[in-house]
């Protein structure tokens, strides 16, 4: 009998998993069903560019079903819950799906209502987020009419999708207001719960230096307890306040709501406890997790999801064949960081190794942890790779799933490379 594989979510992880599995198994060997609640697949890295008029929401959204290869069933419904003991998913449209293997790929969702005041007076008027197409579009209109004042960019708490995006937002805002000739009338402040600009020491120091160069004030260890839209201030739990005329807030993230309705599947934040290296869930041996839905200590980012794909599909195959799983995923992440003025820098890291300088993927390659025009072009080109190579589940030539070590400068010598 054909294996029944059910994939929840048709975003980056669900789509590339379905397409890779479809190539791995002949039609009679496996029945693959993908479930999603809507038919809008958003190229999420594009959201960053919307507020600055560099792209538009309609240019970064495509139908989900069309990204799935022939021979994959696409079922459009929200998920009700998963019954782990019965190996069955109940959908909100009333259907039930029995599975031999379940892949959870429903990502992370925004929870702005969890922060006091955030969705109250001023929301989408002077308090925005660029983490949704609607928010990014509203912010574009607000920026177009902004002629000076104090802008704060705030991360409420980790984890968030694409942890570098709020920094990129600051760099692009510096460029945008410079181009408009009013940079001297705009105060930019970056307010983060972290104790530095970023998490890992070498890149954190580099990025803090770039914020300073671009005249962006850095406020650290700020745990936002309230966003007071009417009064124009962020209030931390410890009582500190940061005033604003316009706030760009990255709301709290959590896993999909059905995870919380499925006993034994998720943690307190509805993320699914998952083995760091095999990507098998800790909930049940026949449940695997890819992308932002997993609680693994890797960045919640498309590149991580892409690099997980190979290990995940191999381990689904091994599980169904009764073979031991391969601990193949090393936490590899790779991010272009847009820095404005047609430049970007690139960082590459995994569970063990922090982002370092040098070149990627080998000694002759893109410069790491260093601004360059080449990296900016790489970032722009990536959207093409996303639709045509990453989602179809193909490997990008020369870019392996594991983190490369060649071409990198050890942490101790970072100064020498700059």
């Amino acid at each position: 009998m054909a294996h029944r594989i059910v994939i929840l979510g048709a975003g980056t992880g669900g789509t590339l998993t379905a397409n890779r599995l479809r190539r791995r198994y002949a039609a009679e060997e496996a029945q693959i069903t993908v479930v999603d609640q809507d038919d809008r697949h958003v190229y999420q890295p594009g959201l960053l560019f919307v507020p600055f008029g560099l792209t538009h929401p309609e240019d970064i959204v495509r139908p989900r079903g069309r990204q799935l290869h022939a021979g994959i069933d696409y079922h459009r419904s929200a998920v009700g819950s998963v019954d782990i003991a019965a190996n069955q998913v109940t959908l909100e449209d009333g259907e039930t799906l029995d599975y031999d293997v379940l892949v959870v790929a429903t990502g992370a969702v925004l929870a702005p209502e969890e922060t006091e005041g955030l969705t109250g007076p001023g929301w989408m008027d002077r308090v925005f987020t660029f983490y949704s197409p609607e928010g990014a579009a509203a912010l574009e209109a607000a920026f177009a009419g902004f002629d000076g004042g104090r802008i704060v960019v705030n991360i409420v708490d980790m984890p968030i999708k694409c942890p570098v995006a709020p920094l990129e937002f600051c760099f692009l805002a510096d460029w945008y207001f410079t181009e408009r000739g009013i940079r001297d009338r705009v105060q930019l402040t970056y307010v983060t719960p972290l104790d530095g600009a970023f998490t890992k020491p070498v890149s954190s120091a580099k990025l803090a230096g770039m914020l300073a160069e671009k005249g962006v004030e850095l406020v650290t260890e700020f745990n936002t307890g309230e966003v007071d839209g009417a009064g124009g201030r962020l209030v931390a739990y410890d009582g500190r306040e940061v005033p604003f005329d316009l706030a760009v807030v990255v709301p709290l993230h959590e896993g999909a709501a059905y995870v919380g309705r499925s006993p034994g599947l998720g943690d307190e934040l509805n993320f699914v406890p998952t083995d760091d290296h095999t990507l098998q869930s800790k909930a049940a041996p026949n449940i695997f997790v890819i992308g932002d839905a997993a609680n693994v200590p890797a960045s919640k980012a498309g590149s991580v999801t892409h690099f997980e794909g190979e290990t995940l599909v191999e381990n689904v195959r091994r599980f169904l064949a009764g073979e031991p799983l391969e601990p193949g995923f090393d936490g590899h992440a790779n991010c272009f960081i847009e820095t404005g003025f047609h430049k970007a820098l690139l960082i590459d890291f995994n569970y063990e190794t922090e982002p370092l300088g040098g070149h990627y993927p080998g000694p002759v390659g893109l410069p790491l942890l260093k601004e360059s025009r080449l990296n900016h072009l790489g970032k722009l080109m990536f959207q093409w790779f996303y639709w045509h190579s990453l989602l179809p589940g193909r490997d990008i030539p020369g870019i392996g799933a594991g983190m490369p070590g060649a071409g990198k400068t050890p942490a101790a010598n970072q100064g020498a490379d700059q």
Binding site: D157, P163, P193, T199, N223, E268
Partner: protein, 105 residues
Amino acid sequence: MTVATIAKTDVELNDEGFFVDPAQWTEAMVPELARHEGIDELTDAHWTVIRFMRTEYLTKGSGPTVRVLGKASGVSIKELYQLFPKGPAKVAAKIAGIPKPRGCI
């Protein structure tokens, strides 16, 4: 790394003041560890949080973040900041003798 004497027992602390080996910790050390953090009077709510941190670490391998504490410990985030004004997750982790919570990536 330094060796400190707490409740008449030598324990190893890292540069930031977290226990290197959580097995060296005992509940008897809590009042003295709390005083180091500026907390002179330990209430039942402090104990609830400290024991919760400890249990989470022992079962999951990492201490909870403030947000998880607020959701799961039964003490609201606002109250957590009243109990541990210098940062609930970090300070409670020090007092509970566990490593710094692996907050974020």
